[in-house]
């Protein structure tokens, strides 16, 4: 691809992961049998779709998200986001470029209320220092409340985040990520710890985030059945390698409504 084409970011996938190797802990990725390492993983995510990353526990899904979001360094390969190489940037820079992730288990600021949590996640240009000394604006509070309602935390504004049950903390974390107006969201295990009804709601919520806010999503989960319901394209990881990729139809199993 020529240099000019590199600059035509609109025609390129939003996120490209090219042949990366990552290691889980201090160790050597050249050890091929390492239990949790990524080996030559490649994937690309087009704008405006939902891409799933599936695989059994220990397949390296979370590790992949860690590598993309800059929380771990990669040994080889490169990662491009929105026309910029982010392979070796720190997580803060990557998040400010508009690639935000969530965690499993969900991580929120426990001693702050939900609304305060939301206010910590204003868009990057509002986090610079002189502006940070200002009191929150009404418009920000309105936006925060709106997003909390959007994810289903209607009454939770003043609740302390650390006291919320896990499924609500997941929603709060999603709302915080959305507050910063990201281009793309990496969602780690959105349905772990949820029952069937909760998983349905989460599927609905992720689809609405994608459709109404136009956010591109990369969703990592163990639950293949659920993933087929939500994702437009799926990469299946096993032992750190992509062993299968395709649309849910191509992967052969049609999504069936739960009985």
């Amino acid at each position: 691809m020529s240099d000019t084409m590199h600059r035509l970011t609109f025609f390129r996938p939003l996120l490209e992961v090219r042949c990366i190797n990552g290691i889980d802990s201090i160790g050597n990725s050249s050890r091929k049998d390492a239990a949790c390492s990524l080996q030559a993983v490649s994937l690309s995510v087009e704008r405006g779709i939902i891409v799933g990353v599936g695989g059994p526990a220990g397949a390296g899904k979370t590790l992949l998200l860690d590598c993309i979001s800059g929380m771990r360094s990669i040994d080889a390969g490169e990662i491009w986001f929105n026309g910029h190489e982010i392979s070796h940037l720190r997580s803060g820079y990557i998040a400010r470029m508009g690639l935000v992730r969530t965690f499993h288990p969900p991580r929120v600021f426990r001693s702050l209320s939900c609304l305060e949590n939301m206010l910590t996640a204003l868009p990057a240009e509002r986090r610079l220092l002189p502006g940070l000394f200002a009191w929150p604006r009404r418009a920000d509070l309105a936006r925060a409340t709106e997003l909390l309602a959007f994810v289903g935390l209607h009454d939770g504004c003043w609740q302390q985040a650390g006291a919320l049950p896990v499924h609500q903390r997941k929603r709060l974390e999603l709302a915080m990520a959305l507050m910063s107006e990201p281009k793309m969201l990496l969602v780690d295990e959105p349905v772990a710890d949820l029952d069937a009804a909760g998983a349905e709601d989460m599927m609905e919520l992720l689809r609405r985030i994608n459709a109404e806010l136009g956010t591109t999503l990369l969703v990592a989960t163990q639950d293949m059945h659920w993933l087929e319901g939500v994702a437009d394209y799926i990469h299946w990881l096993e032992q750190g390698r992509v062993v299968a990729a395709g649309t849910p139809q191509e992967l052969g199993v049609r999504h069936q409504e739960p009985v």
Binding site: S113, E116, W135, L141, G152
Partner: protein, 404 residues
Amino acid sequence: MRAWDMKPPEMRASGMMKYAHGGHVAALLMLLTAGLAVPWVVPELLGPLSRLWLFVVLALSWNLLGGQAGYPSLGDIAFPVIGMQVAVMVQAELHEPAMVPGAVAAGGSEALSMPDMVRTFAGLAPGVLAGGVMAALVAIVAGGILLRLPRQHFAVATAALAVAVVGMGAGWPFDSGGNDAPVLPMAAGGPWLLYWWSFLLAALALVFLAWLHASRFRLALVAIRDDEDKAEAAGQFVLRNKVAAWAIAAFFTGMAGAVHAPLAGSTSADMAAFNGLEVGVWMILMVLAGGRGSFWGPVAGAIALFILWELMRLWAPQLQLLLAGVMLVMTAAFLPQGLAGWWRQRFLHLSAVAGACGRGGVMACRHAGVDSDADADTDADADALAGVDHVVAAGSGWREARHV
């Protein structure tokens, strides 16, 4: 109704606007009015009360990084020492207008005329400002390096910084400055002027830090305390915020040190009245006793410990450090959240953990039953909604909570 118009009782524990509402503004005004009245009501206590205001400044400043951001600095005493010595140097360079020849010649027994007082008051200003600015610069440079460390390592490294700075004052090679630098002799109006300086400084710190406490800057600091990696991953300027907090703290503590130099009549960091390392311990203790992370906690802690400190100075100066140790142990054992936590529990009927520390809280049960897909704990929460006074939500670290 918009959500931020609702003001449920939970707001008192964790709401954002709690420092913008009337009660806190009123408390602040009352404190400042009391400070204004003091020189006429109890003129004989001007000296100790000046020190009290400086202690309030020290406690509030330490609380910014140590309490709210959770980075306990053991070496913040370096900043008053820097401020003190820089101020004296600057005043010596400027041929101190604070030194009023007439009053000194008269042995300080004559009252100053009004213009002299104004001159004396203003004469301290360049030194005080320079002290604060220099302390803040040191904090920015040192913080840029030290605040990258994990917090325990940071604590130890700052202790080393304090030892270095205090030691540097002792071995100061230049004519002006250092431990035994000549301090401006204060004339008859000295204590009175210094009281106003300390009060002005404390008022400035109180108002500015109260403002900061209601701003998004506090949220950024608490986010760092709760989960620094998450804050970084969410794209916050973590290091910059920590350095800014430390620089603000250093600016105020540096100015406090600069005002203290003429108050103590010495710039020696080892002096009994302002023993560097010892005050360093006390300023942390004030915050811990008061309740770290809150705004009024450090103020209350400063007042309570100041009274103890002065009594000890009168009766048993050699036991001061021992008392500090005992206080530290007692606070940790019986008041883990300090006076502020005790107050919240006793009078607001809220869990002591709720406001200051991220260990779960009280407000959970009220809304937990809202979603139909709530987990198994919902039964307990439903009981809470039905008016049960005490709920122990097991399994997720919730504390026993009493509902108002």
